[in-house]
Symmetry: none
Subunit: 226 residues, 2 copies
DNA sequence: GCGGCACGTCACAGTTTGGTGACACAAGAC
DNA sequence: GTCTTGTGTCACCAAACTGTGACGTGCCGC
C-alpha cells in the first residue's frame, strides 16, 4: 500500500497534534513542524511526498513556504486556511498550491484531498490521460476522440485541462474564471458557459446530452470519467 | 454486506478456476479472463470494482495491464505474483497497484486483502459520506440511494448538506434559513418545511416515516444516521 | 374529545439559470 | 490591406427551480 510521508506545518499545537493523530490513523506517516523555517530546513532530509501548510504562520507564512518549496521541487502542497478567506485562494494558487482546504477540516476530508492530490501528482507525471474514447495529451497539447484528432483553441484547452485536473469534482464558475482566465473580478458573465459549450460541441458525441462535461445546476461543471 | 464485482486475470486454468470458486464462495461476483487483452476489452462493459491480475501473463503482462487500467480509471488493482519476486513489487507499485499478494495464496487471505483495498478505495475516492444506502459525495455534489443517483436541486442539496454537516443534531428553522437561504429576517414561512418535504420525497423510502430527516416538533429537523 | 398549534402537502406562477446562435472585435497570417 | 481564427458579449428561449399561501393532517395538553 502506498503510504504518504506527510510534512505538516501548523503553529497551533493542539490543531497540529490533532491533525497528526488523525492522519496517522488514516495510515499516513506524518512529520510536523510549528514554523516554516524548521520545515524548510528539514525538507531535504525527510523527502516527504506532500506538504500541508497552514497559511497563517509566525515568521514565513504558508504561502511563502509553498513558494520556496516549489523552487526546490515538485512536491505537492495543500494549504490550510481559515474559513472564508477568499483572497488567499488566489495568492495560494499563484504560489503553486495544489489544493486548498478550509479549517476546521474533518480528517476524512483532508485524507481524501491528500489522496486526490497525490493521485493527481502521480498522473501528472504522465503526459497522457485517457477517459474512454477521449485522450488528452498534455505534452503535445493534443486531444483525440476515438483516434481522431480534435482541434481545441488555447482557451478551450486550458478549460478542459482544468476540469480534467479535478475529475469528478464540481468546479464553480468563479473558480474556473480565476484558474483559466485569471479573472479576479467577479463577473457575472456567460464566459465559462460559452466556452464549455464550445468544448462540448467538439468532444461530445451528443452535445445536448453530455458524457464528459456535466452541468451541475446552481454550482458549476464537473468532468466525469465515463 | 458489500459484494464486489471482481475482475480476475490468470492464465493458468486450474489456478483461475480455483480462485474463482473460492472468491465466489466468499460472496464475490467474479469474472475471469486468461489474458490481459481480453480483460481490457471487457473492462468497460463489466465495470468491476476491483481487478486481480497475475503478473506473469502471456501477451501483455499484469503490470502493463495495471498501468493501462490506471489510465482508464481509478479501479483498484491487486497483483498476484510468484513467491520471492522482489523486483516486481517495485515495478508493480510504480504501475499503481494497490496491493501485492504472493502465490500461492489462501482464499481467506486474498479475501481480506480485497476487502481492505476496497475499503481504502472507498474512503479515498472523494469526500463522501455514507449513511446506509445513502451516499453523499460532497466533492462531486452527487447523492446516490442504493447505488441509484438522486437528482437534487441546488437548494435541496444545500439544505441536505447543512443537515448532514451536523448529524444527530437538531437544527431549527431560523438557523437553516440563515445557513441555506441567507435569510436574516425571521420569516415564519413554510419554506424549510417545503424543502425538507421535497428532499424526503426523493431520498426517503417512505416519506411519511422518514428514516434520515426527522422532525423534532417545536424545534426543527435532525439528520439521523440510520 | 376538543381546540389549538405545528407541521405536511400541493399546485402554480414568477424567477432564475443555462443552452444556443449571432455577432463584434482583436490579433495574426498572408 | 483582406481573410481567418479566436474570444468575449449579448439577447433570447426553454427548462428548471423555488417561494408562497391555502388547506389538510396529526399531535399534544387539557
Amino acid at each position: 500500500m502506498r503510504v504518504a510521508g506527510i510534512l505538516l506545518v501548523e503553529d497551533d499545537p493542539s490543531v497540529r497534534m490533532a491533525l497528526e493523530l488523525a492522519l496517522t490513523r488514516q495510515g499516513h506517516s506524518v512529520t510536523s513542524y510549528a514554523t516554516g523555517e524548521e520545515a524548510l530546513d528539514h525538507i531535504r532530509a525527510r523527502r516527504p511526498e506532500i506538504a500541508i501548510l497552514d497559511v497563517m504562520l509566525p515568521g514565513i507564512d504558508g504561502v511563502e513556504v509553498c513558494r520556496r518549496i516549489r523552487k526546490l521541487d515538485q512536491l505537492p502542497v495543500i494549504l490550510l486556511t481559515a474559513r472564508g478567506d477568499d483572497l488567499d485562494v488566489v495568492v495560494g494558487l499563484e504560489a503553486g498550491a495544489d489544493d486548498y482546504v478550509v479549517k476546521p477540516v474533518e480528517p476524512r476530508v483532508l485524507d481524501a484531498r491528500i489522496r486526490a492530490v497525490l493521485r493527481r501528482a502521480e498522473s501528472a507525471s504522465s503526459d497522457r490521460i485517457t477517459f474512454g474514447d477521449l485522450v488528452i495529451d498534455r505534452g503535445a497539447l493534443k486531444v483525440t476522440l476515438a483516434g481522431k484528432e480534435i482541434h481545441l483553441t488555447p482557451t478551450e484547452l486550458r478549460l478542459l485541462l482544468e476540469l480534467v485536473r479535478h475529475p469528478g469534482q464540481v468546479l464553480n464558475r468563479r473558480y474556473l474564471l480565476r484558474a483559466v482566465w485569471d479573472h479576479t473580478h467577479i463577473a457575472d458573465s456567460r464566459l465559462v458557459d460559452a466556452c464549455v459549450q464550445r468544448i462540448r460541441a467538439k468532444i461530445e458525441p451528443k452535445p445536448a446530452e453530455p458524457v464528459f462535461i456535466h452541468t451541475v445546476r446552481g454550482f458549476g461543471y464537473r468532468f466525469n470519467p465515463p
